[in-house]
């Protein structure tokens, strides 16, 4: 077992975001964290990336005490929902960033970095766009630049936060298949967050369904479809593709935070 999450809890000022989450996933696995807004899925991903800290619990990856490492030493490629590209740098400079900031001893030569950037541009099918600025690209192109930038550091773990959230339906579908094949080609361990059950079931090897800071069920897509472990899972998988605005929250929620309140806290 390569990724082991053991009783991780996290409280924001007013809301418990994660109430003891445990899961295990093998190396090379494509793991989806599925759930409505406020279920804690983004918080868990950010904890994996080192952008947020768990109050308690342990995470091991590759036999490393993952939580003891600061973000910059984890080599976890993180792709943000809003891309978070560096606006004042060209596409090539964005992709090269992770390599060019390495200490001189481990930094590749200038030519080597340029070669890697070309390779990555080809990999994400953006050949020839290296000299553009992010503002000159479409949403789908920006998302692929963000991915190439994350891949440039040869990540041990690839973390994707709603990677298709800001894109329209057609582009989403195309990118989905492309991402899956990329994952297989590179042999990465990938964790991605989504609220779209179709996306999760189609892409992932393993789907963890989160609700109000707990894991309701973790299983392969087929298993999940055949034997939902709870009403919530059945409900959540049962409906058609859910847009971000129409995600149901259970009405008996104890703390009763608004969806926006959660989303705000968790970001």
């Amino acid at each position: 077992m390569s990724l082991v999450i053991d009783h991780v809890t996290k409280r924001f000022e007013r809301f418990p975001a994660l109430k003891g989450v445990s899961l295990e996933a093998p190396k090379g696995c494509f793991l989806a964290l599925l759930g409505p807004s406020g279920s804690g899925k983004t918080t868990l991903l950010r904890i994996l990336g080192g952008l947020e800290f768990a109050d308690a619990g342990r995470i091991a990856f590759d036999d490393l005490d993952w939580l003891a490492l600061p973000a910059r030493e984890r080599r976890a490629g993180f792709v943000f929902q809003q891309y978070a590209l560096f606006r004042h740098m060209t596409v090539a400079k964005n992709i090269a960033f992770g390599l060019s900031i390495r200490p001189r001893r481990t930094r590749p030569t200038r030519a080597e970095i340029a070669r890697r950037v070309e390779e990555l541009l080809a990999l994400v099918q953006l050949d020839g766009l290296g000299k553009r600025y992010p503002s000159q690209l479409s949403g789908g192109q920006r998302q692929r630049v963000a991915l190439a930038r994350a891949l440039a550091i040869e990540p041990r773990l690839l973390l994707l936060d709603e990677p298709f959230g800001a894109l329209d339906a057609k582009v989403r579908k195309d990118l989905r298949h492309w991402l899956r094949s990329l994952h297989e080609r590179l042999g990465l361990t990938t964790v991605f967050v989504t609220h779209d059950q179709d996306e999760a079931l189609e892409l992932a090897d393993l789907v963890a369904v989160l609700n109000q800071g707990r894991i309701e069920q973790i299983a392969a897509p087929a298993e999940l479809r055949a034997r939902p472990a709870s009403d919530f899972v059945a409900d959540f998988l049962g409906q058609g593709p859910a847009g971000p605005g129409i995600v149901p929250l259970r009405t008996n929620s104890r703390s009763g935070p608004t969806r926006d309140g959660w989303a705000f806290q968790a970001r």
Binding site: G49, A71, R72, E73, A76, A84, R87, G98, I101
Partner: protein, 265 residues
């Protein structure tokens, strides 16, 4: 909707009467000397020395403010500490404090027997009545321009890019230098230019601490007043036109800079 003719008419009349016509009077005046007379007037050694001091001290003060202003903004926006609201409000003091008050206060503070002047004197540094005094006053007057220009931009700066840099392996210093600073640079430049433009024309807070020695610590605006006292209106107007030209240059340069920043977003 009613009221257009009246409000525009009044606006244009008042603007012309108070601002535009008087400025026109200034611009026309020195040409009674002819071009060569005008040139001779503004190239007198005393005028050149004053211009050099005004621009030099303003540039140094603006540079100091750009560095310390950035630190102040960073601390005000990013850190939490007791009394932050008060420090934040205090930053506007140079805007609110009459310049003459600031002038005599700085002068007393840096005088050889003042709270700061005495220890500096012991260390062999003379501030009051030297060009350093001019710089101190101009630093005082310029700080809020840098802080207030930068503050909203740093507050609005999204943390995403900084987080991305961290996940890519950047240290905090690398993130600051390569991600944050480039995003702030145009605004920092704007604030610094505003501080500089204000400093070049500043009078009240400077003259008390400057000592006003001709050729050494005499600023350009003071020279205008001296010319007026000698009833040399054309000479005063010639220097005034130079200063007005500098003001207009900055006004339009800053407008252009703002438009450029707007187009980058």
């Amino acid at each position: 909707m009613p009221g257009f003719g009246f409000s525009l008419g009044f606006t244009l009349f008042y603007l012309s009467a108070i601002v535009l016509v008087p400025l026109a009077a200034l611009i026309i005046r020195p040409w009674e000397l002819g071009w060569s007379g005008f040139w001779a007037e503004i190239t007198q050694p005393r005028v050149l020395a004053a211009l050099k001091l005004s621009f030099g001290a303003s540039a140094i003060a603006a540079a100091v403010n750009s560095i310390f202003g950035l630190v102040v903004v960073w601390v005000l926006v990013r850190y939490r500490f007791p009394g932050k609201r008060i420090v934040d409000a205090l930053v506007d003091l140079p805007f609110a404090l009459p310049t003459a008050v600031a002038g005599i206060a700085l002068s007393a503070l840096y005088a050889p027997n003042g709270w700061l002047g005495a220890p500096l004197e012991q260390a062999g540094v003379k501030v009051a009545y030297t060009p350093y005094g001019v710089m101190v006053a101009l630093i005082f007057i310029g700080l809020p321009f840098v802080v207030r220009t930068l503050q909203p931009v740093l507050s609005d700066l999204s943390r995403d890019a900084e987080e991305a840099a961290a996940t890519l392996g950047a240290t905090r210093m690398q993130t600051f230098r390569r991600v944050i600073l480039p995003s702030l640079a145009p605004t920092l430049l704007t604030g610094t230019a505003m501080a500089f433009a204000r400093a070049v024309g500043e009078y009240g807070s400077v003259i008390f601490i400057a000592g006003n020695l001709p050729m050494v610590s005499e600023i350009t605006p003071l020279l205008i007043i001296i010319k007026l006292q000698e009833y040399d209106y054309a000479g005063a107007a010639a220097i005034g036109v130079v200063m007005l030209g500098v003001s207009f240059f900055f006004l339009f340069a800053l407008n252009g800079l703002q438009a450029w920043i707007g187009s980058r977003r």
